[in-house]
């Protein structure tokens, strides 16, 4: 492994190797593209969050008081579209994945650097088309575009929004191909598959889904546009189509897409937990194969979104059974992360707080998934706030927590600076409390029977809705704080040094910020296991005290 001088920050880094706006807009450096993506998705996160804030404010009163029902319908549709396709799906893979994955395999860049830049431009083009749809008056179909409402009934900008997502899909596919090729072809000498960090395994599994599932969504949205514009009967029964066919096609992509969103989050947590416990990950191979298991089993459960959509009881039973199978790899991961902390040297640094928060919230999200997989219970709680709470525990409690944890963990590598630790701990706590206050009451609302996508509701649901809105305002503060202090630290933070966490990852064995080509010379991996704390303890200056 390579050891750099710790004393002074490096003079030549990827940040100052070239200057000027075009050096960023035409860069093929995976680290700079990761930053371009980070800026883009941060914008979309706050845009989607703004829509959510308006929704929560509207729901303080049982009757429409802030916005009309039509506007509310557009708000939840655009919140979903922006958050799913322009934040969650690219969130970790295209930012942290882009930045870290090549370094984690000891490569100087991704396999296809120009394709990587193209993927950002395609992403931005898709985003521009979707933003156009929003500013022309929005879309009101929900993020799910259910037919025949989307093709025959809605009078909003459905085609434009769908085409934005269609274009965006190509950037996912490009990223997937790039990661797969990089993991196969660009690993440093000596870095065999079973020495790869879980971060790489998990992104590999994510990339499989990117490549296999995204085309199905593309074709489906194209068919929606064709039916809407040319009145070709595909989904609308009035034209001879089948509306449930749309749901099958849509969820054939959108359920695996859940794993696109959560596998990278698991990737991040699988790095943070060993680093901050100073111990190899417990059950490494089990976690590797659990990632692959999620990516494959995730393709067999799409029907569980459709238990009340007119499905035969035997189909429903099959999808229920597979849904329980897919819960097993997730359970394995939770147990292995937890066991990794046992007898560790556990620090309470901010990334670890986010990771522990992730494990707790992901566990709740996963367990409520067991309720929904039980078909007899699903009939009552599907399409209610129970489902909303469940998937927000996975996607916000899970993915967003892991994203924030990952940003804090790799921030010293990205910026070369340390962030203010006390403020970061405070905001992690704020996010955790705000999140639970926002979404836990929604489980209760769901069992009470409050349907989702209601602009107005019976008065007996008001108290729980007020709690949820109060939580959302706390959560908002928790999200704005890191944006402020991280940007502050970029200019004013203390120099971090190459490896402030004393991690074994290859990306930490080069300077912070790294040079343009990541390593001064290609690293050669001589250690024999993943997370080799034992073999690297002298190099990292660690001592065994217990």
């Amino acid at each position: 492994m390579i050891e750099e001088a710790v004393d002074r920050p490096p003079t030549k880094t990827y940040l100052n190797a070239e200057v000027g706006i075009w050096s960023w807009l035409l860069t093929t450096d995976h680290k700079r593209i990761g930053i371009l993506y980070t800026i883009s998705i941060t914008f979309f996160f706050f845009l989607g969050g703004f829509f959510a804030l308006l929704m929560r404010l509207e729901l303080v009163q049982p009757r429409n008081w802030l916005v009309s029902a039509e506007t509310y319908n557009k708000l939840f549709s655009m919140h979903g579209i922006i958050m799913v396709w322009f934040f969650l799906i690219p969130s970790i893979p295209n930012t942290l994945g882009n930045f870290v994955l090549p370094m984690a395999v000891g490569a100087k860049d991704l396999a296809f650097p120009k394709l990587n830049l193209a993927s950002w431009y395609v992403f931005m083009l898709g985003a521009a088309v979707t933003i156009y749809a929003i500013f022309r008056g929005g879309v009101d179909t929900g993020w799910t575009f259910y037919t025949p409402f989307s093709t025959a009934s809605s009078t909003t900008y459905v085609t434009a929004a769908a085409m934005g997502i269609f274009i965006n899909g190509f950037s996912s596919i490009m990223t997937g191909i790039n990661f797969i090729a990089t993991v196969h072809r660009m690993r440093a000498p000596g870095l065999t598959w079973y020495k790869l960090p879980i971060f790489v395994w998990s992104h590999y599994a994510t990339s499989m889904i990117f490549v296999l599932a995204t085309p199905v969504l593309a074709v489906t949205l194209l068919m929606v546009a064709v039916e809407r514009i040319f009145k070709v009967g595909i989904f609308d029964p009035a034209l001879g189509g089948d509306p449930v066919l749309f749901q099958h096609l849509f969820w054939f992509y959108s359920h695996p897409a859940v794993y696109i969103m959560v596998l990278p989050a698991m990737a991040v947590v699988s790095e943070i937990v060993p680093t901050f416990s100073r111990k190899p990950l417990f059950g490494y191979k089990a976690v590797c194969w659990a990632s692959i298991g999620l990516a494959t089993l995730g393709f067999l459960v799409w029907g569980h979104h459709m238990f009340v959509a007119g499905m035969s009881v035997y189909s429903a039973m099959t999808f229920s059974l597979f849904s329980y199978f897919v819960a097993i790899p997730s359970a394995i991961k939770v147990f292995n992360w937890t066991a990794t902390m046992h007898r560790g040297a556990v620090s309470w640094d901010t990334p670890m707080l986010y990771a522990i928060g992730f494990i707790g919230l992901f566990t709740i999200g996963g367990m409520t998934g067991l309720f929904l997989a039980a078909i007899g219970l699903d009939v009552h709680v599907t399409d209610t706030y129970f489902v909303i709470a469940h998937f927000h525990y996975i996607m916000v409690g899970g993915t967003v927590m892991a994203f924030l944890g990952g940003v804090h963990y790799w921030w010293p590598k990205i910026s070369g600076k340390l962030y203010p630790e006390a403020l970061a701990k405070l905001s992690a706590l704020t996010v955790f409390l705000g999140f639970n206050l926002t979404f836990f009451p929604q489980f209760v609302l769901g069992y009470l029977g409050m349907p989702r996508r209601y602009a107005a509701y019976p008065e007996e649901f008001q108290f729980l809705n007020i709690l949820s809105t109060a939580g959302a305002s706390i959560l908002g503060v928790g999200y704005i704080l890191p944006l402020v202090y991280l940007l502050w630290s970029w200019k004013y933070g203390r120099d971090a040094g190459p490896n402030p966490w004393k991690s074994t990852g290859l990306e930490w064995q080069t300077s912070s910020p790294p040079p343009k080509h990541n390593f001064e010379k290609t690293p050669v991996v001589t250690t024999t296991v993943p997370y080799p704390y034992e073999e690297m303890k002298e190099e990292l200056g660690l001592v065994q005290t217990r």
Binding site: M311, M341, R343, G376, R546
Partner: protein, 349 residues
């Protein structure tokens, strides 16, 4: 009375008790496991908290048996949840034979309900307690979903195809009816009330309803108005099949195979007669009624055809080669032939 603070829903159907029981079982089980995991996380974070900057964790031996234990034990719990959930689903999905059939048409943004006696309601449904009610539904435009939280039942109403659900109210009262599938601007206004009544009150309500005639008799009116009776004779076979005693039978179709004559098949044969022509009859004889009839008129015709008994004086099925009437086929256990040929989703649900 409905506006007070609530944390638990009304439970007013024959299945709501078991749904509650299962839900509480899941809450207790999952909460226990979640607390155990959280407690262990906190224990590790505190007990093994790093004492000085350069400390490292203790190397551990990987224990296969632990990995296998926490893979296999949850698996058995999951299979238990699966089995219980599936059993409950069968109870929720399959109506008893003695259910009264009612009909609902969903449209933006209201529910229209018809009773077998012809009484019509909008955004309300009156029903007797202690009597299973099967609700056959369809949508006139986009997908809606008929959701009664107090009954723990929900079923999407699809355009172009019948679906059905059933419930048996156990406690008199007034309960929410929601549309649970997003259907456009006034989705949250597509709500109403279910009135569960004692049988006596229900009878009183029915007679006060003063219908124009039962649903089947409305259907009979349309049957003559639209000229159906010109070809569909009730004595012998005319140019078109005799419809007596049709409902619930399996009939042979041209081109081979057979199909269960359920609500969906009858609806399809009215709107698109050439889709599955009965064996021995010519196609292209009957006009296509798509766009000529609204869903309520179709429901009335279906209801009329369902009500047609056997030919007076005969008990045997009239056309040869058909299987005997199979009531069990109505829901859930349709054979492979039925679901694949007829596409009859009420039968195949």
């Amino acid at each position: 009375m409905m506006t007070r603070l609530r944390f638990w829903p009304d439970s007013a159907s024959s299945v709501s008790g078991e749904v509650n029981f299962f839900f509480i079982f899941m809450v207790v089980l999952c909460t226990s496991v979640a607390i155990a995991i959280a407690a262990f996380l906190i224990y590790c974070a505190v007990r093994y908290r790093r004492k000085h900057e350069n400390e490292m964790g203790r190397p551990v031996r990987y224990i296969y048996s632990v990995e296998i234990a926490w893979t296999v034990i949850p698996f058995f719990f999951f299979m238990g949840m699966f089995a219980w959930g599936a059993k409950l689903y069968f109870d929720i999905e399959r109506p008893p034979d003695n259910a009264i059939t009612m009909y609902a048409v969903g449209k933006q943004w209201m529910w229209k309900v018809q009773h077998p006696g012809g009484q019509r309601e909008i955004n309300e449904l009156h029903l007797p307690i202690g009597r299973p009610v099967k609700l056959v539904m369809i949508s006139q435009d986009v997908i809606h979903s008929f959701y009664v939280p107090a009954f723990r039942t929900k079923q999407d109403a699809l355009p172009g195809r019948y679906t059905s659900t059933w419930f048996e109210a156990t406690t008199p009262g007034k309960y929410h009816l929601f549309c649970a599938e997003y259907c456009g601007a006034k989705h949250s206004g597509m709500i109403g009330w279910i009135y569960a009544m004692t049988p006596g009150d229900y009878q009183t309500w029915l007679t006060e309803g003063a219908p124009e005639g039962s649903l089947a008799s409305q259907g009979e009116k349309y049957f003559h108005q639209f000229g159906c009776a010109n070809c569909h004779h009730f004595e012998g076979q005319g140019r078109a099949p005799n419809l007596r005693d049709l409902y619930g039978r399996r009939i042979e179709v041209a081109g081979g195979g057979n199909v269960l004559a359920d609500e969906s098949y009858i609806r399809e044969s009215i709107l698109n007669p050439n889709a599955k022509v009965a064996y021995g009859f010519e196609p292209n004889v009957m006009p296509n009624f798509t766009g000529q009839l609204d869903e309520q008129q179709v429901l009335a015709l279906v209801s009329y055809i369902k009500a047609l008994g056997p030919q007076p004086g005969t008990q045997e099925p009239s056309s040869p080669g058909t299987a005997p009437k199979e009531y069990g086929q109505e829901k859930g256990i349709a054979g492979p032939g039925a679901s694949s040929i007829s596409g009859s989703h009420v039968g195949a649900r």
